[in-house]
Symmetry: C2
Subunit: 331 residues, 2 copies
Amino acid sequence: MQRIDRKSAAAILLPLSWSPVVESATASAPVNIALAKYWGKRDEELHLPVTDSFSVALDHHTTTTVRQAIASDDITLNSIPLPTDSPFYIRCVKFLDLARPSPSFFFSIATTNTVPTAAGLASSASGFAALTLALNTFFGWNLNRQKLSCLARLGSGSACRSVYTGFVRWQKGSSPDGSDSYAIPYDDWWPELNLAILMLSPQEKPISSRQAMRLTVETSPVYALWPEQVVKDTIAIMTGIRERNFPAFGQAVERNALMMHATMFTSTPPVCYWLEKTISSMNMVWQARKQGVELYFTMDAGPNIKLLYLQQDAQSVLSYFPQARAVTLLP
Amino acid sequence: MQRIDRKSAAAILLPLSWSPVVESATASAPVNIALAKYWGKRDEELHLPVTDSFSVALDHHTTTTVRQAIASDDITLNSIPLPTDSPFYIRCVKFLDLARPSPSFFFSIATTNTVPTAAGLASSASGFAALTLALNTFFGWNLNRQKLSCLARLGSGSACRSVYTGFVRWQKGSSPDGSDSYAIPYDDWWPELNLAILMLSPQEKPISSRQAMRLTVETSPVYALWPEQVVKDTIAIMTGIRERNFPAFGQAVERNALMMHATMFTSTPPVCYWLEKTISSMNMVWQARKQGVELYFTMDAGPNIKLLYLQQDAQSVLSYFPQARAVTLLP
């Protein structure tokens, strides 16, 4: 049984039912955008992070249906079957092994995203969260959110945050088995907070974020500063939300993202997800801010930019960025 | 007398002649490109740096002629008179005050650059070096290069490196009066080393490098790493030159420049000199390297890119960057 190789999953799953209780199970999970980034693992296998991170949920979802299959795992993404030698298929199968009742049990997984895959919009996070939630129903595990968060984390680190909506903090934990590394909801909401996406490139990334993360941790001198900086930024972000202090919030969010990219640029070899439009959009944000528009951005390990602003500035922001797609945040 | 306000200048100049010994004096100084950057001052007035820096001279010069003027200082830059309220005029006059024999003595300064001013090609460095050398002849001071380097530094920090050709190290020194903060030539040359400039924008910069430098030192969390990093990079650069190890040399040069920009991006507010073409050119360099071309770059506080490569790769490099202007390095 491969599942006992992964100790934290075993601790959660071993006592549970290993027979499907329904013919098919469907679940959804929201995309989350990190405001304080998850960047660097202390355990590659269990996806245990070096630092806490903090996110907000979007009203964009992955919906996943789990069934039993006959001869092999089949996985479709937006109705297209994944080739069995594709990296994402292999990654999903590895995750499904955690839940596989026996080596001769196979899954049929149908998953749909409302955002382009692998474009820095964290569809793997919502994907593994939805899959975890669907498996929970499929096998009738009745796990609580904390344990579902731990399980989802084994598929993709940031998936642990997608088992909740609203603002979510992933506490890094300290246990080597990862049992205390899960997400917790942040008990506040900011109805005026707006987010819009500048989809600058839906193309696949030149290097996966997990490769970039590993290279950064191993080679960037700037990474030495990162753990301490994330703590500061997370506190500033949470305080900014609590006090409805948008400039303080935005400054911390933007600095955190730029610092993450600074760790990448200073890696050997350098890692750069920015495109021409990334830099011109960033320059445009800063110009707008100089002209009095309270507009900040965040970016993930990809070229796209996520604009953050308050409802009252929505019109000004869209006049600077007519192509931005406003996305509803999910309380 | 304003000159005694500036203690290190006084120490050098006070014992000297204060009468012109010729009617006019002309001198040239080369543009220098920093390979390990000067970024951050420990003394704003005396331009004393936080770290050593290391540069190479280009076969681009500033040539400056000094004469006595009648009623006020007049300064022409590439044959165009500088308005007396322009920042550069004010900066030059402040520097001329160091050498002014009396408040009623005025200078006529004619200076020509072979590169666009304020486009990140360090014309202020060659400019203040040339002015210093011309003043030395004009007044017959007969100062040695070490003292000329100290004086030039008072006009623009990196000007202290432009009193030499070849590879030059500016040793930061430790004395509060700056008397040990001057450039020294590096006793090696690399005839195969090539440099080409990607002039992406000759436009004036949105923020001066001295303002950016100050903001960075004051607000960027990444700056804490900078002093130690420059030491490592400078050693790697000098060792790379000594051992003719181009990848080691190039990696250190490129990382140093990217780290400097990382300190800017993470300032509050963020400082960004990059344009669309900057990022696409960087991406192109990295792509060329993946394809086996040993090509690295450096950048200053501006949008332009300086490509570094060996003679044997010149043709490959120019096939990636047909618009690059090869510039002769000056041994």
